[in-house]
Symmetry: C2
C-alpha cells in the first residue's frame, strides 16, 4: 500500500467529485440535456477566460488548440513573431513552420521573461507581422511572461496577440478583455483540474477578421465551423461528452471559490515552494519571473537530477517533473497548479528532502518543510 | 426515478467497469506506469483492427482521425475517389475539398451499398486516383459496404484504400490485413464502448509511402510524429490519459469475448431489431445492405418521426436516433453496437411500440418484442 502524489505541470490531480462525474452513465450529445451542460460550460469558460468573446472547445490536447490558433489566423507566407523562451515557445514556431508561415523569433534566454519593449521594437521594424505568439506560463522553465505589458504594446499595432495559457489559465491571472488579449489558448489538464483531452481557444473581434481572411486549409480545427455550432449551443463534431460534463463540475467548483481566491491560493503554494527551495540551499531556475503555477529548481551541482525525480516517483510515489530538452537532468519542477493543497506541497517537500539526503546532499533535514509551514501559517494570520 | 437507455450509434453505453476506470486517480503520461498501459493498448488495438500495422491514437473525435488520413496521404491537387452514400461519405469529400484535393465522387443512393465493380471501373478510367475513401458502416443510413470486395478491387491498382470504420469497428468484421485494407479509421464511442474523445488510424506499408511523400502542412495530426512516438511507446502530444486507461479495460473485456463472439452478438441484436421491425409492419431503410451495427427503419407514412424519437427520449428515457440531413423525420435508427444486451433491445422495442401506439399507428401490441424474443431464443438452441 502506498499513496501516490502528483505534482506535475499537467496532468494535475483531480478533485474526487470531478473523478466521479466521469463515472456517470454517458448521455447523447445532440440532446437538450447535453445542450444545457454546454450552455453552462460556455458561460463558465468565459468567466475563467475573463472574456466576453466566444471560447471554443476542441477535442484535442492543448497543442491541437495551439494549431487551431495558427491555421485559423494565418496562411502560408504570412509573418508571425514568436517569443521563444522554452519548449512551448518553440512549439509555436514548429507549428507555424509546418504550415509555411514565416517566423520572426525573439530568442529569450531560458529562465527569463520576454521584454515587452523588444516585442514593440520588432513590430515597429516589421509592420507586416500579423500575429505575435507568446506563452503565459512557460512550463518548461517555470517562467511567467508579463502578458498585460505585452498586450499594451501589441494592441497599438495591427498585429494580434495570441497567448498560450495552457499551463497558466486558472492558476495565474490573465485578464483577456481588460488587457486586450486577442486569442487565448488553454488545455484541460492544468489549472482546470481535468484529465487531458480538451483544448480551448477564445477569439476576439480583431482576431476574428483574420480567421475569416485566412486562406489555409482547415476542417477539424476550423473555427468558423466551431463558431457556427457554438451559436446553436453545439459543437461541430462529436463532443468529448464525459470530459465536458466533468469540466462543468470543475468550473462550478472554481466559480464558488472565485478567481481572486484561486490566484491567491496558487501564489501561496508557489511562495511556500520557493521559500522551501531557498531554505534547502537550492536555487530557482527563474528567480526574476517565477511562475505561481510551477516552480523550476536547479539540481545541486554533482547530483543526478533524473535519478532524483525517478526515485521520488518510483520509490516513494511522489511524481514531480524533471527538465525537458536542454534542461534535462539540470532542473526539477514542482507544480502547484489546480487541485494542490498545502498537504501536497508539504508531502512533496518532505519527499524531496528525503531523497536529497539519500543522494548525499547536505542541508538541515526539515528546513524546506518548515519554511513552507511558515508561509502557510503567515497566510492564516493575514 | 427513471432508468435511461441509450440506443444511439455513438455514443454507446459504457460497461460499469469502464466507467469506474475513468474515476481512478490520474497518472502522469511520461512514466513507466503509463507506458505499460500504452503497450497493452497498442497490442489490443492491433488485435481489434486485425492488423500488424501500427494503430495510432489521436486525441480527437473520429473526424480528426479522418482528417489525419486525408492530409497525411494526399496533398493539394491530388485526386481522391470518394464513395458517398450518406452523411459520413460526404464528410470525406468535405475534408478533401477543405485541403484542395480533387475529388471524384461515386454517388450511391442513400440506403444502398456501393458496387465494388463501379470502384474498379472508376480507378481504371483514372489511374491518377491516389486514394479511395469509403465507409464501413454508413451510420446515417444503416448500410454496411462490402469492404472485402472493395479491397480486392483496389489492391490491384496503385491507389490505397481508406476505410472509415468509426461506426463499424468492434461491431462488424473488418479484416484489415487479410483483406488488404491500407488505412482504417475508428473512434472510441462506438463498438469500443468508450466516451468520445479518441480517434484511431491504422496505416499499412502501401499507404505509409504516401504519408512520407505528402507535401501538405500538418502538425497535430502528423502521422510521422505519431510513428516516431509510437516506436518509443509514447504519443507525440499529451495523451488523453483517462480515456486510454479506459480503452485498455475495454480491449481486455473484448479480448476475453473474442471477435467471433462479438460479431455474432451484434448480428443477433441486429436480427432481433430487424425481425421486430418487420413484425410491426415497418420497413428497413436499407434492406439489401443492413448493418449489424445500427438499424435504420422507415417512419410509417403520416407519422412525425422527430416526435417519435423525442417522445421516446424525453418522456420515457429511451434515446434512439432520428434521421440526419435529407432523412430527417423520415427514419429512426436503433443502434445495437457496443455494450448492448438483449434487455436493451427488448426495452427499446417495447418503448417504440408504446409510442407508436400513442401516435395512432396500428399493429398488434407486443408483436415486435415477441419477434425479437424468438430470435434470442433460437440463438440459445443453436
Amino acid at each position: 500500500m502506498r499513496k501516490e502524489y502528483l505534482l506535475t505541470p499537467g496532468p494535475t490531480p483531480l478533485p474526487p467529485q470531478i473523478s466521479l462525474a466521469m463515472a456517470k452513465p454517458i448521455i447523447h450529445h445532440r440532446t437538450p440535456q447535453f445542450q444545457a451542460i454546454l450552455k453552462e460550460v460556455s458561460s463558465g469558460l468565459k468567466w475563467v477566460f475573463q472574456t466576453a468573446n466566444d471560447v471554443f472547445i476542441i477535442s484535442s490536447s492543448g497543442t491541437g488548440a495551439m494549431e487551431a490558433a495558427v491555421i485559423n489566423l494565418l496562411s502560408a507566407g504570412d509573418i508571425a513573431l514568436v517569443v521563444q523562451g522554452g519548449k512551448f515557445g518553440e512549439r509555436w514556431t514548429e507549428i507555424a513552420k509546418a504550415y509555411g508561415i514565416n517566423t520572426e523569433i525573439i530568442d529569450v534566454e531560458w529562465g527569463k521573461a520576454v521584454s515587452p519593449q523588444e516585442i514593440g521594437k520588432r513590430l515597429k521594424a516589421n509592420p507586416q507581422i500579423k500575429a505575435v505568439f507568446v506563452t503565459l506560463c512557460e512550463t518548461s522553465t517555470g517562467v511567467d511572461n508579463d502578458i498585460q505589458a505585452i498586450a499594451a504594446v501589441v494592441k497599438e499595432t495591427p498585429a494580434v496577440l495570441v497567448v498560450d495559457a495552457i499551463s497558466g489559465l486558472g492558476a495565474v491571472d490573465i485578464k483577456t478583455d481588460a488587457w486586450g488579449v486577442d486569442v487565448v489558448v488553454a488545455g484541460s489538464q492544468k489549472g482546470l483540474m481535468l484529465p487531458p483531452g480538451l483544448g480551448f481557444i477564445s477569439v476576439g473581434p480583431k482576431a476574428w477578421k483574420l480567421v475569416e481572411a485566412s486562406k489555409g486549409g482547415r476542417y477539424y480545427l476550423d473555427l468558423r465551423k466551431a463558431k457556427k455550432a457554438a451559436d446553436k449551443n453545439d459543437t461541430p463534431f462529436t463532443s468529448s461528452i464525459t470530459l465536458i460534463d466533468a469540466l462543468n463540475e470543475a468550473l462550478k467548483i472554481m466559480q464558488k471559490d472565485g478567481l481572486e481566491y484561486i490566484f491567491k491560493r496558487h501564489k501561496i503554494m508557489a511562495d511556500a515552494t520557493r521559500a522551501a527551495s531557498g531554505a534547502l540551499g537550492l536555487e530557482l531556475f527563474a528567480p526574476t519571473a517565477a511562475s505561481d503555477a510551477v516552480s523550476a529548481v536547479k539540481v545541486p551541482a554533482g547530483l543526478d537530477g533524473e535519478k532524483l525525480v525517478k526515485t521520488m516517483r518510483d520509490t516513494y510515489g511522489v511524481t514531480i517533473a524533471g527538465g525537458q530538452a536542454e534542461l534535462k537532468g539540470k532542473i526539477f519542477r514542482i507544480a502547484h497548479m489546480g487541485y494542490i493543497a498545502e498537504s501536497d506541497i508539504i508531502t512533496g517537500l518532505a519527499c524531496l528532502e528525503k531523497v536529497l539526503t539519500q543522494m548525499g546532499y547536505k542541508f538541515t533535514l526539515g528546513a524546506g518543510v518548515s519554511a513552507a509551514e511558515e508561509i502557510f501559517l503567515k497566510k492564516e494570520n493575514n
